[in-house]
């Protein structure tokens, strides 16, 4: 089982085993309905969270709405 080095929200993290974006979000305890994800500057459609496989070197942005002017 190789380990992967990815960057999530600007922080580098080491992940082990194959996991989908959905797995990753679940591990982080993030409610996938309320977030949007950008992977290597590409928007990941919500419908594909379950099928997109995280790869080594991925740069992920997981965002949601907060209060703003």
């Amino acid at each position: 089982m190789q380990s992967m080095q990815v960057t999530v929200n600007g922080e580098s993290r080491v992940l082990t085993g194959a996991l989908t974006l959905e797995d990753l979000l679940r591990d982080f305890g993030v409610d996938q309905r309320k977030v949007a994800v950008e992977r290597n500057l590409e928007i990941v459609p919500k419908s594909t969270f379950g099928t997109v496989m995280i790869e080594d070197g991925d740069r992920l942005e997981v965002v949601h709405f907060i209060g703003g002017g």
């Binding site: 929200n9 982080f28 993030v30 309320k34 990941v44 997981v62 209060g67 703003g68 002017g69």
Partner: protein
């Protein structure tokens, strides 16, 4: 003349709205106060920012738990973006997160003035509109730029009254009126309103609505100020529709002169 009750509404990108007050969801003490103030404001459209989830504490309370996106139209903004590219990236994420394409574009020029960078704003507008967004664009009170943004296809022009968070009220009524007169899309004053009368003045200049955040959030009692702003926007709108009296240099008696004892 139709009034609020009888359906005086305004349209943005094909959607009708009754409330001409749009409110930001930043700067409140907490989410509870945010929700109560938004509720008191009568706003149907609220602006929101797009930020990274705090992964170390992903289940902290979220705006959406307090300000229900099914009840309010979320208007994602690009606050904090200083280039067209950042703005487009942010709004694509927002669209994916929220599923809507009505957005508020604001590309700022510098930290101190938070004044819009109109060149980047033009570029971002073009890119977003090509990408299918309905763009409500925060801009300066420059009538030429406002016109250019409309011609690019922005669905609403939102000139500033004064710098964001300054509370100085409308600094240049001449330009706001020029923009209102030339525009065929809704014109909303956004940023710089400080109190109720500022909001009324915007509406009396013919604006279709007012967007504010600090004036409500930074009042000593935000919920009361939210209600004040709701009334002020309606008052200003009604006064505009009613056609104010002419200004006169000298007096004009309100009681008949005849029949004096």
């Amino acid at each position: 003349m139709k009034s609020i009750e009888e359906g005086d509404f305004f349209e943005i990108a094909g959607r009708r709205f009754r409330s001409r007050l749009l409110v930001g969801t930043g700067k409140y003490k907490d989410f509870d106060e945010t929700a109560r103030a938004i509720e008191a404001s009568g706003a149907e459209i609220v602006t929101v920012a797009v930020r990274r989830v705090n992964l170390s504490d992903p289940v902290q309370p979220m705006l959406t738990d307090f300000v229900d996106p099914k009840k309010y139209t979320y208007l994602p903004n690009t606050a904090g973006c200083y280039t067209a590219d950042d703005a487009v990236r942010t709004l694509r994420l927002a669209r994916e997160a929220g599923g809507w394409k009505l957005v508020k574009l604001e590309v700022l020029g510098d930290q101190k003035t938070l004044y819009p960078d109109v060149v980047e704003t033009l570029k971002a507008s073009e890119a977003l509109i090509k990408d299918g967004f309905d763009v409500m664009v925060y801009t300066s009170d420059d009538p030429i730029i406002a016109n250019a943004l409309e011609e690019i296809g922005c669905c609403a022009i939102m000139p500033l009254a004064a710098p964001i968070g300054s509370g100085l009220g409308i600094q240049n009524p001449v330009n706001i009126r020029l923009i209102v007169e030339q525009s065929n899309v809704p014109v909303l004053v956004d940023a710089g309103v400080g109190t109720a009368s500022d909001a009324s003045i915007a509406m009396e200049l013919g604006c279709d609505g007012v967007l504010m955040n600090t004036a409500i959030a930074a009042a000593k009692d935000p919920v009361a100020m939210a209600r004040a702003m709701r009334l002020a926007v309606e008052a200003g709108r009604l006064a505009y529709m009613a056609g104010r009296m002419p200004r006169k240099l000298y007096a004009d008696p309100s009681s008949p002169v005849g029949g004096l004892i």
